[in-house]
Symmetry: C2
Amino acid sequence: MKLNINLKNAQYPVYLERGILSKISQYVNLQRKIMIITDTNVPKNYATTLQSQCKESYIYRIQASEHSKCLSVFEDICRTLLKYHFSRNDCIIALGGGVVGDLSGFVASSYMRGIDFIQVPTTTLSQIDSSIGGKVAINLDDTKNIIGAFYQPKAVFVDFDTLKTLPRRHYYNGLVEALKAGLIYDKKLFDIFENTNIDDHLEEIIYRSLCVKKDVVEKDEKEMGLRKILNFGHTIGHAIESYFDLTTYYHGECVALGMLYFIDEDIKKQLLPIYEKMHLSQNVSYNKEKVFQYIKNDKKASGNLITTVQVKQIGKASLVPMDLQQIYQILKG
Amino acid sequence: MKLNINLKNAQYPVYLERGILSKISQYVNLQRKIMIITDTNVPKNYATTLQSQCKESYIYRIQASEHSKCLSVFEDICRTLLKYHFSRNDCIIALGGGVVGDLSGFVASSYMRGIDFIQVPTTTLSQIDSSIGGKVAINLDDTKNIIGAFYQPKAVFVDFDTLKTLPRRHYYNGLVEALKAGLIYDKKLFDIFENTNIDDHLEEIIYRSLCVKKDVVEKDEKEMGLRKILNFGHTIGHAIESYFDLTTYYHGECVALGMLYFIDEDIKKQLLPIYEKMHLSQNVSYNKEKVFQYIKNDKKASGNLITTVQVKQIGKASLVPMDLQQIYQILKG
């Protein structure tokens, strides 16, 4: 399968195919310097499979942790690129999950003011969501994605086979973004979660999720309006993630908690059994005052206002600007 | 005077007027959070003149040094923006020279993936060259501008009055970029340097230089081709600057040295008396082997090739790809 992402200043293909990891050189030019950025969770043979297709390649392996999305790792990668004399015409491949993709993308966007960048997502989270759309970023202290850019990859390769080695907790964590896509934009996708065996429909789930993202991002690349719906669950979700030092709970797990604040009761009744199916915790206790402090630093805040995303009907989202006090009330319940 | 810069995805005005520093709020929205980034060389009353026009403003003062264009200062500014809850709709003003502009611009390009940014250049270098065109960057170790972005300001305010307090060495340093603009694109501008008193024609020199830059950048924003002519003198110049630890000689002084390698003898004969008029040294000794090492890391390198800029006729530049060995020969003379 193939999708084309068509933006104002960038077009790029997303290839979805089992085993495509070993065929990437058929699609993109690997006859130049290639820096493969990956992490300690990604099986080593994935990187060597890539390397065998390259003329001159290097591997930079980060610790598998949200904390690797920081300025010091960013700096070290840039210094490594410089050490190997990477030029503007060379290329970075992000091989891994969302952390690897976000960090690598920000390096690619800023090293020499921008070099080529290819996404090879190997987790559900990155295949479903973070590898397309061009949002790249790193964290500062415990505030997520506060330094970044809009920077599109040259191509994205989704190899479903790489999901076989993914731990189940990671697997479900990423699927939360697909469930979100269903809730805000695609009732049929939501129905798959509600009525079928998820594993049996994985490829369809990923494909449909990417179609949602493609459609939304093509209409509003820079998040001036519509794209904000993709932040459903993220305002409170990000804050919970930060509150737990970005490590205790995974991104999707926190988004799942965040979504519960902005849906009607009847939808909640439909949603909770799906959470159970996905082994997502609904009962996580946190200090709401402290979580609120993180919300105040959210990128989506504009002065005192934050655009929240609400779902009152499955498959349809609405944007509702709220002041911080209203969000505080919702958070307190 | 006013110029409009018209790029594919950005349009912005450049206002040139004595005393405009005290009237900026008439042109842009200062009724939001404003971070004024400036340096220890810029007279303090310039910042307070700006502050008096703002609703809520903060001043971040960096050390006046090329070394301030580094990741640790970048990080501290981002942390300060976060501390004061700057949102996507707030704004950064760069008040100072090229260092302040490049650094502030990179902060603006990446904080929350991009916030508004206004340039108020107060040196000849920044008024003539660095404040328009959208190249923003910081250095890594002693490699110049290796981390950055193409990010356009919302407006540029050139107040000639601010040049009154500029030390003469800085003044001439910046004018090298105007002389460069004349050499590569505007013979009349070169004639002003050759035949008249520079001080008496300062406003015209700045205006004409900006017209050159506007024309070139509008034709090739991302430096795919033509824009490379603006790098005339910079390949060797940057390397000399790095060799001297970015501090001993100023940027323009090094560019002046770099230009001498890529012009014909007869032009050199015309140029050297102008250098004398501008108190630019022609006899700086440096270790050419070591300078060559810095050239290898140049952003303009592509594999083994670097696009050099040559001037064989005043007002016209040509792009000549050379391999590193050829540049080595030229450098060795």
